[in-house]
Symmetry: C2
Subunit: 323 residues, 2 copies
């Protein structure tokens, strides 16, 4: 059921840059304005279709002095970067179930620079997620649902969720491999399952991969080949723990000539490497392999990295005991 | 034509550790005896099936004071590590077409600790490679042929080569993605082609992947799923340029309980990290993406890394000009 081969230009493909959003989890969203402006310009030149600026987190729950502004994504802060966003690239934000005040913190679409609101949920919070989708849809936004941690969910529960989201007004349903646990065989099978529901209900399917087992890019392009069309990536793979599919890999791979990797390479040279040099931690490393292989949340591996530990065997044993 | 799924134990699988051989290209084969002894023991405990000790390079061509002993792999040096090799793990060495004195430097198998000789060749040196295979076969060795740089070869030439090696006494034919240029779709297709000839002639098929595009592990397990059974890996991916499929990923993935990742993790903790700290360079990084995407030899990317350059856009342009 392949939807193209290596030489195909798939006009349904949309690349979403999630550097600020998933990457912000590594530095509490403290990006400089210069960084954000440069990334915005680089993404436009690279042909990126959506740029996600961060979370719309509730200021009641998260203290504003502990996080940079992209944890909250005020419309005015986005405007300060994008102006009228005179570009084909759309602006996205993420709203986490239970962590945002969605009834109050979103203005109608026609008053906002935001185009797409992505709702992140676990399967068990589905009713709230649907309420959020309906709310954002009524405000005029394009919407997506990111169902997280699906490698821990039973297939029948996931199918029930896909049915519910299929009947909702959501535009795009994302496969999210939160734990970087999926192998290509599994991502292909999962893509087929999502696409079956998506085709029934007229939705797009997206993929958001993590690099715990060095499979984020492979899983993303395998999902693409199955027919998934919304592809998440981040510059230099910046994202929580092992990070994400790298924009420089994905954009260099895609065959549509609108995608150009050079602006992303420039952004890496001029900005991303500096973040690493300043001590911001992310990216594939041994402990993430271990949590990925165990299909576990990466938080234990992140703590292991922060402690500069190298006793991998012990870590592996600890993980068994924790389960 | 899948030969198993994620829960299968495939009894035809053989893992070959190429850390000393491909990794030796990063440090001119100057491994300490302690390193080599520890790796040998770790591989046995991890369930590794073959350990490749290095090259059988000609001392007429390569000065022995410029390289460590694993460039030459004298039988006595191997014996000093393995004794009578009282283990199920077999010992391998590599013989490069044009770089070894194969008529003089190999004793008969029953006088040597070596079990498997892998011949590395380009398609155009095929007649010599076949002569070497026949010679090693007569000496009593198990043999493999590693046809390199196949991403640059025409399919009809490759098929002609597979026919010739099929008719030779070689035991195993390797898919070698020298430039890390293959995407999973291509590795699956290539695996099918190799397996077609292998099944006709009763040969095994192996895979040796490079990590230029962060696909070494993905390509290895995709080849495995197609039916490829000899799988190359190296501790921490150590190998020229972007390096190889990581043993810790592969061995953690395989379902046969004989494979245990902990001894590899110990070797990484105690030995591999030290090599990195001492300045030995290898592993996935941006310039290798660029040569991988261009299907180019990684030598330009290695030079870029050695010069500590970060001007990726320029490098990309230089590569276009070079072609």
């Amino acid at each position: 059921m392949s939807k193209g081969n290596l030489l195909s230009v798939r006009h349904d493909v949309r690349v979403l840059d999630a550097t600020l959003r998933d990457g912000g989890l590594c530095n509490d969203f403290f990006f400089t304005d210069e960084f954000v402006k440069n990334l915005y310009k680089a993404n436009i030149k690279a042909g990126v279709d959506y740029m996600e600026f961060g979370y719309k987190a509730s200021k009641e729950i998260f203290p504003t002095d502990k996080f940079g502004k992209w944890k909250f994504c005020d419309d005015d802060d986005i405007r300060a970067i994008v102006g009228e966003n005179d570009s084909p690239m759309k602006i996205a934000v993420m709203a986490d179930v239970g962590r945002c005040d969605y009834k109050n913190d979103f203005r109608p679409k026609n008053e906002s620079p935001v185009d797409l609101v992505r709702v992140a949920t676990y399967v068990n919070a589905l009713p709230t997620a649907v309420d959020m989708i309906e709310h954002f849809n009524k405000l005029g936004y394009e919407t997506a649902i990111n169902i997280m941690a699906i490698s821990k969910e039973k297939t029948e529960d996931l199918k029930a969720a896909l049915e519910v989201f299929g009947e909702s007004p959501v535009d795009t349903i994302y496969i999210v491999d939160s734990y970087g646990a999926y192998y290509p065989e599994q991502i292909r099978r999962t893509s087929q399952m999502y696409l079956e529901y998506a085709e029934k209900y007229g939705k797009n399917v997206g993929v958001h991969a993590h690099d715990n087992q060095s499979l984020a890019f492979a899983n993303t392009i395998d999902a693409l080949q199955e027919g998934v069309s919304y592809l998440d990536a981040t510059a230099m793979g910046m994202g929580r723990g092992a990070g994400n599919c790298r924009s420089e890999l994905l954009i260099g791979f895609l065959k549509n000539p609108k995608y150009k990797p050079e602006p992303i390479l420039d952004h890496i040279e001029n900005y991303m490497i500096r973040l690493k040099d300043e001590g911001v931690q992310w990216g594939f490393d041994i402990p993430y392999i271990i949590t990925g292989q165990r299909n576990s949340h990466p938080r234990t591996a992140i703590a292991f990295q922060k402690a500069h530990r190298k006793d991998y065997r012990n870590f592996r044993y600890e993980l068994y005991d924790l389960e």
